[in-house]
Amino acid sequence: MKYLNEFRDGPKAQGLAREIRRITTRPWAIMEVCGGQTHSIIRNGIDQLLPPEIELIHGPGCPVCVTPLEVIDKALAIAALPNVTFCSFGDMLRVPGSAKDLFHVKSEGGDVRIVYSPLDAVELARKNPQREHVFFGIGFETTAPANAMAVKVAKQQGIRNFSMLASHVLVPPAIEAIMTSPGNRVQAFLAAGHVCSVMGFWQYPPLAEKYCAPIVITGFEPLDILEGIRRAVQQLEAGQASVENAYARVVNYEGNKPAQRVIEEVFEVTDRGWRGIGVIPRSGWRLRDAYRDFDAEARFDVGSIRTKESPLCRAGEVLQGRIKPHECPAFGNECTPRRPLGATMVSSEGACAAYYNYGRFITLESAQPARAT
């Protein structure tokens, strides 16, 4: 398939891995920011091709994982209301709140729907004017344009029974928070390609310079990630710290201007709590005053909900790259994909789930390749 199998080519991947081994002379810690990249690394076994000196630290870029427990609890409260149809992306349904998840709410009679686009939720609202429709608008810069567009369309068309529980988060402030956190070990970043497809990468040169850390805009297929790593190692070995675009088939410097305009029109920057990390200043988006009527938090009076994380869960340290998932004592014991304590065990992009699902706690005996036909 075009643009897919080309970037999963085995011999080319081996070639890139050889090149990385050749240029690596000492240990380096590189963080892939995006959960989609973590998923691809573990699913394809990319880390197994790397020399032992290269450590990949799995970053906080999974929107499902970093959405604060409090926001999940608010979603659960709204979804349980009798007159509400609650629409969400699929992988939010299994994220545990304090007591349950959206699947439980659904089984108890809540009208919870999986949608593939926030505009589908607007359309549902238009067709069913007697019910309130709430879209769970989470995500990084990647999902923000569609979410902003949904609110804008609802306002334009006067669809008053639509609202959004918005909890957007932003990558650049998270990179800053990681670089300034005590005990940080990250020396270079693979920036999230899809975030940059929307935002461009004009925000990154000051960060690379300020923290002396190479930032490589990186895609999601095995060859993309290996190339991102190769460029990061090349810079680290040469003592450089600049921004490079290794995902040029999708990303340019300016980004998607119309998308940025609709975000700017609908959202404004705000301080945001990150699950397991805490509040990062100016790290999120919320609806602007002009769109406040579409804010589900205001409409449904859930502002007073306050909650606490499980004391066993160390997802925060995982998200900041301080421990690997299997180094958490609860991993595979109290915490499994079936009974997750933290969201990193839920989302397929979450580092803990990726480790658990793809068996990173088990050593496989090698097997002979099957006969090709």
């Binding site: 085995g10 990319i46 995500g139 990084f140 699902n357 068996g359 097997a367 002979q368 099957a370």
Partner: protein, 352 residues
């Protein structure tokens, strides 16, 4: 959805025409029920055992061990590209029988119908069931109809049970995979699950993804020309190839290693899986089988399967190992290894 379907040649027979939709009375055991049986089910499924209309059908079976299975079908939408709930209800049970090595013979059909279902929809489903049964060479010999109130069902649910007879010399079972065996799949994976998801959610891709729904009993007959060398046959339906092979690995106490790059998949299905963040190994199939066979006969069995229209893309996708008993692993296309686990529930589409 069902309103969009062209039911082709099906025309509502008198006196069912008086009721364009199913009413509660159609399940009441009275005149309306009798009309439904007489004018819809009997003409469609016509055979002597059914026409006797006794409380039970009385059947004679050829010699051999009897295989018996049941399955319920709740698919939505009722009609989808490549099939319908009727095709699934027949082929699903036929395939379950065939995977035990049995020759499928007789099926039952129980219909739970929601009040208000268009008569034409039920008629279309029954037509498809009858065609599927003829195609698979089985007879629908007993049945039941219940009607539930509006809002208490999802249009139509169907349960089928089936019996078949296993010829002597055939010994298949999910516990019989042995180290060294080859794992064959009879064609592309993930077609049914992605066809249903696309139809259900109104997802549009460049071309329509069609379900692979098909009866596999004649393909199984071809495979069983090598009775000694075939150890396990399974159809990877719910949970896909991953769930089926995990179960076999556990029950046979062996490891299974897949070569991910060799698994056949239609480009459209792969694209749809990528868009939604789904792993095709976990997506359902309704017209494919997994055969685990002795390595020395793998090439012959593969050749025989490829001669069959439903097995033309048969491929060796992996190997049974002594190591890692109970586990399914995959060698990725770039040469890494990963575990392929059982899913907790359904796969969930990813956010971005």
């Amino acid at each position: 959805m069902s309103e969009d379907i062209d039911f082709g040649a099906w025309t509502c027979p008198l006196p069912l025409q008086d009721y364009p939709r199913i009413v509660i009375g159609h399940g009441g055991g009275g005149k309306l029920s009798a009309e439904l049986v007489e004018h819809l089910f009997l003409p469609a499924f016509q055979n002597a055992a059914l026409s006797a209309l006794g409380d039970a059908s009385v059947l004679s079976l050829p010699p051999g061990r009897v295989a018996f299975t049941t399955d319920s079908f709740v698919v939505r939408p009722l009609f989808f590209p490549g099939g319908s709930i009727g095709d699934l209800a027949v082929n699903g049970t036929v395939n379950d029988l065939a995977m035990s090595g049995a020759q499928p013979l007789y099926l039952s059909a129980g219909f739970i119908i929601e009040e208000g279902l268009p008569m034409a929809t039920l008629g279309g489903v029954v037509e498809r069931m009858a065609a599927a049964a003829r195609n698979a060479g089985v007879q629908l010999v007993t049945g039941d109809t219940k009607v539930v109130g509006k809002g208490h069902g999802d249009g139509l649910y169907i349960n089928t049970a089936g019996i078949g007879v296993i010829p002597s010399g055939v010994q298949l079972g999910p516990n019989l995979a042995r180290p060294g065996d080859c794992v064959l799949v009879s064609g592309t994976i993930g077609d049914h699950g992605m066809a249903i998801m696309s139809a259900r959610e109104g997802l549009e891709f460049e071309s329509v993804i069609r379900s692979d729904c098909a009866a596999l009993n004649t393909l199984v007959e071809a495979i069983l020309e090598f009775p000694e060398e075939v150890h396990v046959l399974r159809d990877p339906t719910r949970g896909g190839v991953a769930a089926t092979l995990n179960e076999i690995a556990r029950q046979s106490k062996v490891g299974i290693v897949l070569e991910e790059g060799s698994i056949p998949i239609e480009p459209d299905v792969q694209a749809a899986c990528e868009v939604l963040g789904l792993d095709p190994l976990h997506v359902a199939n309704e017209g494919k089988l997994i055969a685990i066979v002795a390595a020395n006969a793998a090439a012959s069995i593969l050749g025989r399967m490829r001669q069959h229209p439903l097995g033309s893309r048969t491929t060796v996708i992996g190997q049974v190992t002594e190591g890692n008993p109970g586990m399914l692993a995959a060698r990725t296309s770039i040469g890494g290894m990963r575990i392929v686990p059982l899913q907790i529930g359904e796969q969930l589409p990813r956010i971005c």
